[in-house]
């Protein structure tokens, strides 16, 4: 077997174990890799969840519409608490300002456990014109 024969689901498993920096870099490999890494591919989210217990930091990229379009853009490099409220709601809380927001209808919430809560350092917390938000989480030890 050669690396180029690696089935997509195994490739996803390998990619999900890469450090954040490599992963972001590898979005430039091809359009397929870009979509595998950042869409996020349901298998990718599942792979991340499966190994959540095994590692201290990982990358999560979600593209979610923002609830009334307003999260401060200067939250870069802050700490957030992410809670899964129920199967339709994710709440995020900026731990330095205690501001809270509920993210509406995230397409991929079905892959996340209800009641799950964790704290993250967030980098590149950015929203673009189409009111989509992209969040990359690095779990705090």
């Amino acid at each position: 077997m050669r690396l180029n024969e690696l089935p997509t689901d195994l490739l996803v498993d390998v990619l999900s174990r890469l450090p954040e920096k490599s992963l972001c870099r590898f979005t430039c490999v091809s359009k397929e890799w870009q979509s595998l890494i950042s869409s996020p591919h349901p298998g990718f989210v599942k792979a991340l969840r499966r190994q959540r217990l095994h590692r201290k930091s990982y990358l999560y990229i979600w593209n979610i519409s923002l609830f009334d379009g307003n999260v401060e853009s200067d939250v870069e490099d802050c700490s957030l608490r992410i809670s899964i409220v129920d199967t339709t709601k994710i709440s995020i809380c900026n731990l330095s300002t205690q501001e809270k927001a509920i993210l509406p209808d995230p397409d991929h919430l079905g892959h996340v456990e209800e009641g799950w809560e964790n704290e993250y350092g967030v980098r590149n917390f950015q929203s673009n014109q189409s009111s989509q938000i992209q969040i990359r989480f690095v779990e705090i030890d």
Partner: protein, 163 residues
């Protein structure tokens, strides 16, 4: 066979590889293959099991891995010593060429051996993590289907990752 020796006799399974080589393994080793453990628990395990996706070369390695892990875990050593021992073993075990590593990863997935799957995925990830984009394209034989403008935009978005 007297009944007293029967009690201490260990149950063995015969595993047949894709290329027809038969391996005899004890139950303690066989149960590390989740696919086989499920058969045993469901009382469906026959003593002879064909594994259609694994060659003898890879199956021998898989059995060596499971055997070492089974022995280390059941031995009387303390948990920390066992842990250290497994770490050393795993490191040495991963010292194989890329193709074998891929075969092992795929076999661990097929046979559902979680610790070996994790180990091989982690090793593969560390093998590629510091590679350049061009090297990764070459390794995985991926064609760059971005236009110059598109690639520039993606690189700009993730500029911090290229520093």
């Amino acid at each position: 066979m007297s009944s007293s020796t029967e009690l201490t006799e260990k149950k063995v399974f015969l595993l047949k590889s894709l290329d027809g080589v038969i391996f005899e393994v004890e139950e303690s080793v066989a149960v590390q293959l989740e696919v086989i453990r499920e058969l045993i628990e469901g009382d469906c395990a026959r003593p002879f099991i064909s594994l259609y996706n694994v060659t003898s070369e890879i199956l021998a390695l898989v059995i060596e891995y499971c055997k070492h892990h089974a022995e280390t875990c059941s031995g009387g050593t303390s948990a920390t010593i066992a842990d250290e021992d497994l770490k050393t073993f795993d490191n040495e075990f991963m010292n194989v060429d890329e193709n074998i590593l891929l075969e092992l990863c795929s076999a661990a997935d097929y046979l559902d051996i979680k610790s070996l799957f994790e180990l091989t995925c982690r090793t593969l990830a560390s093998l590629i993590k510091d590679r350049t984009i061009i090297e990764v394209r070459k390794m995985f034989n991926v064609e760059n289907d971005f236009s110059v403008v598109e690639e520039k935009a993606v690189r700009k978005e993730f500029a911090w990752a290229f520093k």
